[in-house]
Amino acid sequence: MNSIEIQYFAVLRERAGIGRETVQTSAATAGELYDELAARHDFGLPRAMLRVAVNDEFAEWSRPLAAGDRVVFIPPVAGG
């Protein structure tokens, strides 16, 4: 189990009802972590519509996770 620090933005923040949380997870990749959290928070948005950043850099969904990683999920926004 890794401890991962997570930050949500835009619609994900609304759906989760929180801006950030720290989770204990066995997810091996950023993608697995998203699927786990999507189920818990009922995100409803497919991965293909989002981007993930790990430790302040955009990453692929296959990116392996390590304890202490900071993960940010970012939906695109279009308001102006």
Partner: protein
């Protein structure tokens, strides 16, 4: 004696000098400004001076008082001529008496410099070739003399455009002076040369809404030489809380035109081009071609990606921003081989309305204002060349948590910058022929008669304000469809309707891509209907 005055008759330095005499004074220094026969390489026949007198006298008196206090001189005064003057005539006189010559010279120099800088006085030059023009710019003379930079690069050159001059001449009112840029010129990275770069630059601003307003205001105020405004909308009452460039009296007026008028008043030296139209595939390349830098300030993905592809084709830099409730995203594009574009970050080009929409999500004014100000700052950085060594990133701003995050970004290997928009996502069938996705109707009655079933996809609270006779019976809120709580009928022919035609077009595209052939979007939404 008044310490600052205007005179409509020839100046009499001898008389003014007497008023400065005082037993404690050990000397007197004076400066006289004369009308010379040339300016910026043109032969000048005569001059006319005009001043905004009430304001000018107050400011002039303030300057003289500052000089007396700052340099500890005995007495000081300044008299400026107004009206018509011939070559060699005295235009301005400054006199200072003081215990010692050092303070007298320094105070005299201070007064003339500050008067030239701060007092609203306009000079109309009548040239030997019969032409004439209003000039208000002490720095012009400095520049023309070669003391700072070449005249062609002069930061205030835009103030001398003929359209300005003609307009002022025909109205009989001298043009207002451009802003005093001294506070930004004072930055070592800006300076006179940087100001000249801004004056020579042109920026296209796509969208004059929550983001576009601060972008336009700050770029105009900073003295960017030419601004283009692309916006096909009219001002709506619901815009005002976050777009304070507009007021209630502007509701119903074309945004681009109102914005242009306001910017012109803000900085008369800036040229503003009005493009009162939406950016579309048919016009975007021509729009982008006319400018050095593009600011993407619209509220929909469709236009954002349209602009992205156009700047890639044109090899122009661009600054993108978007907001959602209390957050915003900022991305700078530079036409460099390694630099990611909008599609590199979002290979699956998002569809409007499917991941949170501004009208339905709500927004507080300072959120787009902050992001717009950040966009303006990125634009100035680019124009001034202050972005050397910067690496590509998406910057996320959270105004609730008051935090920014800079996420390093890279080019997406599948994104073809040579043929922008040809990523797999963009080749989905829904993106192919936008013209056939949208239908035009003048009234709701006409739409009812078309044989299509009308489907209102607005949220319930949006429908609450509809007049009773204009309710659309079939209601499928987009939020319900997106979250799977409602399904769009698989069979039949439908006209999908929302407030402005953005969400409906997006849903239409989505349904078509799923193989639903009978769906259309009402172009421009309810806002485009006549009744």
């Amino acid at each position: 004696m008044q310490t600052f005055a205007f005179s409509t008759v020839p100046l009499e330095p001898g008389r003014y000098r007497e008023a400065l005499a005082e037993p404690t004074a050990g000397g007197y220094a004076s400066f006289e400004g004369w009308v010379r026969d040339h300016n910026e390489g043109r032969a000048v026949r005569r001059l006319e001076y005009e001043a905004f007198e009430t304001l000018a006298v107050k400011e002039g008196e303030r300057i003289v008082a500052e000089a007396v206090r700052r340099f500890g001189v005995t007495r000081a005064a300044c008299v400026h001529r107004v009206g018509a003057l011939g070559i060699g005539e005295l235009a301005v006189w400054v006199g200072v008496s003081a215990a010692h010559r050092g303070e007298a010279f320094a105070a005299c120099r201070y007064i003339i410099d500050e008067v030239k800088h701060r007092v609203p006085i306009w000079k109309k030059e009548h040239y030997a070739d019969g032409d004439s023009g209003w000039v208000n710019c002490e720095r012009c003379a400095a520049v023309a003399d070669g003391r700072h930079v070449h005249a062609a690069e002069h930061p205030l050159a835009a103030a001398h455009r003929h359209d300005r001059i003609d307009q002022a001449a025909s109205g009989g009112v001298p043009p207002l002076p451009p802003p005093d840029y001294s506070r930004q010129i004072a930055l070592p990275e800006v300076g006179i040369a940087g100001q000249a770069k801004l004056a020579a630059a042109s920026v296209l601003v796509v969208g004059a809404g929550g983001l576009g307003v601060p972008v336009l205001q700050y770029l105009a105020a900073a003295g960017v030489g030419r601004l283009g405004i692309v916006d096909g909308d009219v001002v709506e009452a619901s815009n005002l809380h976050r777009q304070p460039l507009y007021g209630p009296a502007d509701v119903g007026q074309p945004k681009a035109e109102v914005a242009a008028r306001r910017l012109q008043a803000l900085n008369p030296a800036v040229r503003v081009d009005v493009h009162a139209e939406r950016a579309e595939a048919s016009n975007v390349d021509a729009l982008v071609a006319g400018y050095d830098l593009v600011m993407e300030c619209t509220d929909n993905f469709r236009t954002k990606f349209l602009v992205n592809d156009a700047v890639l084709r044109a090899c122009k830099p661009a600054v993108f921003a978007s907001v959602h409730q209390y957050e915003g995203q900022l991305q700078v594009y530079r036409p460099l081989p390694h630099w990611p574009c909008l599609r590199c970050l979002w290979p699956e080009a998002p569809r409007d309305g499917l991941v949170g929409n501004c009208a339905e999500a709500g927004v507080l004014g300072p959120v787009p204002a902050t992001l717009g100000a950040m966009q303006a700052m990125q634009a100035l950085k680019r124009l001034l060349g202050l972005d050397a060594g910067e690496t590509p990133a998406l910057v996320i701003v959270d105004l609730l948590g008051v935090e920014t995050r800079r996420l390093a970004a890279q080019r997406h290997p599948g994104c073809d910058h040579e043929r922008p928009g040809t990523t797999p996502a963009a080749e989905e069938p829904g993106d192919a022929m936008p013209a056939e996705l949208e239908l035009d109707f003048e009234t709701l009655a006409e739409a009812f008669e078309s044989g299509l079933e009308l489907v209102d996809i607005r949220e319930s609270w949006e429908r609450a304000h509809d007049p009773p006779g204009l309710q659309i019976p079939t209601h499928l809120p987009l939020s319900e469809l997106v979250h799977g709580r409602a399904e769009f009928p698989a069979e039949g022919r439908y006209l999908i309707i929302c407030a402005h035609g953005v969400r409906s077009l997006s849903l239409t595209e989505h349904l078509r891509s799923l193989g639903h052939p009978g769906v259309y979007s009402l172009r421009g939404g309810l806002a485009a209907l006549k009744s």
